[in-house]
Amino acid sequence: MDEPFNKSLRKNSIQIKIGLLMILAVILLSTTCYLSYRNLSSIASSIQIDVKPELRLLSIREISMDLQKAENSVRMYTLTKNTADIKPYYKIISNIDEKVNGLRSECLNDTALMEQTNTISQLIEENIFIWNKLLLLNHDDVVVDYMKQLSDQLDSASESSQKKEKGILKRVFSRSNKSLLNEQEIMNNLNEIVEQDRTTKEKLIRQETQLAVTSSQIKEKFYDLITKMENEISDLIKTKAVSANEIAGNTYRWLIMISISGGLLAVLVLFILIRYVRKAYSYQIALENSKDEAEKLARTKELFMANISHEIRTPVTAISGFTGQILYESSDENINRSLKIIKSSSDHLLKIIDDILDFSKLQNNKLKLEKVHFSIGQILEDVYLLFEKQAAQNDTKLSYSLSSDTPSVLFGDPYRLKQIIINLVSNSVKFTKNGSVHFEVSCRKKHGEKIDLIMEFNDTGIGIDESKLNMIFEDFTQAEMSTTRKYGGTGLGLSIVKKLIELQDGTIDVRSRKNQGTLIVCRIPFMVGEEKQIKTEVDHPLSIPEELTGLKILIVDDEEYNRLLFKKILDRWKIKSHEVVNGMEALELLKENRFDLLFMDMRMPGIDGIKTTRFIRTEMKISEPEMPIIFISAAALNEDLQKYRNAGMSAFLQKPFTEEMLLATIVAVVNNRSQVIVPEVGQKDYHKSDSAEKINLHNLYHISGGDEEFVKQMLDSFISTTGAGLKDLQDAVMSKNWDSVADIAHKILSPCRHIGAMDLYNLLSKIEKSIRNDNNTEPVESLTAKSIREFEVVRELLNKHILKLN
């Protein structure tokens, strides 16, 4: 398996692991849900089944009750013969029929119950049949007819008797006399009726008996059935309970298993996540370290470039500067020739260094473009003059043209434009022998004041192989390795040109053929400039303004060359100068001396120029109008300007500088200074005590930052330590231990000076000096006594001051 795949797998392994575990968790959860649902459904359905027998029991009980009601209705009717009492009977038996049918349908699945139900149904039918019979017997018309017939016969007999005897008593008596003939018949009829009635009653009794038997049977059957059903239900409930318990048990087991699995899964996920987080954290730390390393590396690179600037440019500048100075003074032709070679070589070296520095800045996006008005014609002329001789040496005709429609003044960065043209013309001239180099500038107008400057560089030189055209803009590259050996150069020129053009939103295009020549076309957008805005340079010869001759200048630079160069130029200009090699010495010197102007190298060992300047301004209170500070540096003044200004910088001079630049800077600063009112000298000279005062707490308050408690503490400390010190001093004097006396005097000197107790300070100083320097112990005793008296005065003053603070 190949390495990238393994890396990718390793990178994704955590996602895969987590993903798989999540899938597993989802499956487990789904299973849990499904099992819970299934088992709960089972339990619910078992509960549902259990309810059915209860319903059947209810039906049976209802039927039983209905039968009782029906019987009651029948009995009531037999007693009352009221039809209203029989009406519920018919309704009830109709319901019973429905309920029996319902019960039958509920017992369809149970054969035994079905048989029982059928038996009950038959018995009920039989019962109803008997009830109906009973009802029929109670409605029997035979007895009624007989009774009616008998009544009629009795009525006719009475009517015949009424005609003779008109009272109830007469009729009763007459019935025995006159109706004697029909009596036997009536008696017969009555007997018949009685017989019939007896028969009916017997029938009734039989029916009643049968009914009772049937009812009893039905009841028994019902009780049997109910008992059976209850038993059956009880069994069923037990079975279902057992089954539900089993299901619940299974469910619990499943749930426990799944819960344990879920817990284990969670622990696993947690473990993986923790491991992942720890790994991620260690990667983060490693990344941060790598980032720090990379930043450190970048800083080292920048530092390296700065070192090149400082360490190489400074001596080269000195070489170039001194050579120029000697060239001014020397009249020997041979020496001058050699000096010119040295100067041109050092200038060339500077050019290479500039290329490298520019490249570094371009790479780090630190290069800033200027925006000034400039003459394009002047630039072209300068470049032409620069290479005219070199081209002639190569037997090459150098020419240039500027189209008439191109604005004479443009607005942009002339230095970078010149750099581009110089680089391209330099290449053309370098690689063309016995040919021609022509550069042509035209413009393409855009809207408003914007134009596109089109520059074409055409030569008949060695050309570039078409296959290598795409690599000529790469860093440190030349088309052929042999080119470097033969023609020299860093291989940075075209790379810088391309970057500079792109920085200005332009384009560059190259067309070339080996041994035929090269055409380079550049397009850079510019704004149209104004002629009156073009800055003019200081013309030779230099005339030193008179007001500069009386100046006293301090030069702070660790580079001896620079200091010497400064000194040489300033001496020639009759300006007094003093040099120190670092910030620390500058500060010490400034404690006792004043200068009109200070040149401060920004990069020095120990404390740098910015910190030294800040200290001069903030702690020593030497203001800008009183002593302007000009920063000197080999690095260009970029975005740090505000930082330098804040530190107290008055002006900036970039190394290497020319005499003109130096003069212009000094003149600008001095002229500017004259416009500012210089504050009173006494204001800043706070470290010297007023002799009229016994103490001066200005320093202490300055340090305290307004913290009165701190001042109080310090004064208390002074009183106690100096008091004790003086006592020790007195003891040491008494015992004539002079070394100890000097030590003690020295020990308490600093605080005295700090609180401005200068009289006490001077006395103690004299004690130390007498012993250490003069080896004279004679005045020590009296000086000690004076010191103690002086301390008493100081102490009193300090105590008063402390009281005020309280």
């Binding site: 920004m602 120990g606 200290f615 706070y686 320093n699 340090i703 020295h746 020990k747 308490i748 000076r753």
Partner: protein, 143 residues
Amino acid sequence: MKKVINVLVIDDNEYYNKLLSDAIKKSISTSLPDSKYKLVLHSFTDANEYIRKIKSEEIKCNDGIVFIDYYLGNGINAAHIIKLLKDYSCDTMVVLLSQSNTIKEKSKLVNCDYFVVKDSLAPALCCLYLKQYVENKYSIALD
């Protein structure tokens, strides 16, 4: 975890010791609060105690800056301490403090990095050197 830089003030004068220590303490909290290093201030009025702590390695002498008075009492001076630091191969920056104006000459004798005359500007100068020392620990000014 921040790397520790020991800032040592060795001056037998309690007043000046306190004055300097306080100025440094304020400088640490105001000018160097976001430093990559943890600055720990130790003050000694007794040089012997400092020597004892160096010898017993109670105080690591690497990565530190020492503000030291020339005369330390009891016959000890800065030269003794600097020699001790050299004997223990300590990588420390030494700022020599002295009352005397001949400190420049003394500083050459005792091989210190900086010297400061004990005047009113001394505390501010010490703070300046401390700041520069801390900055130089991880950065060198590019100008």
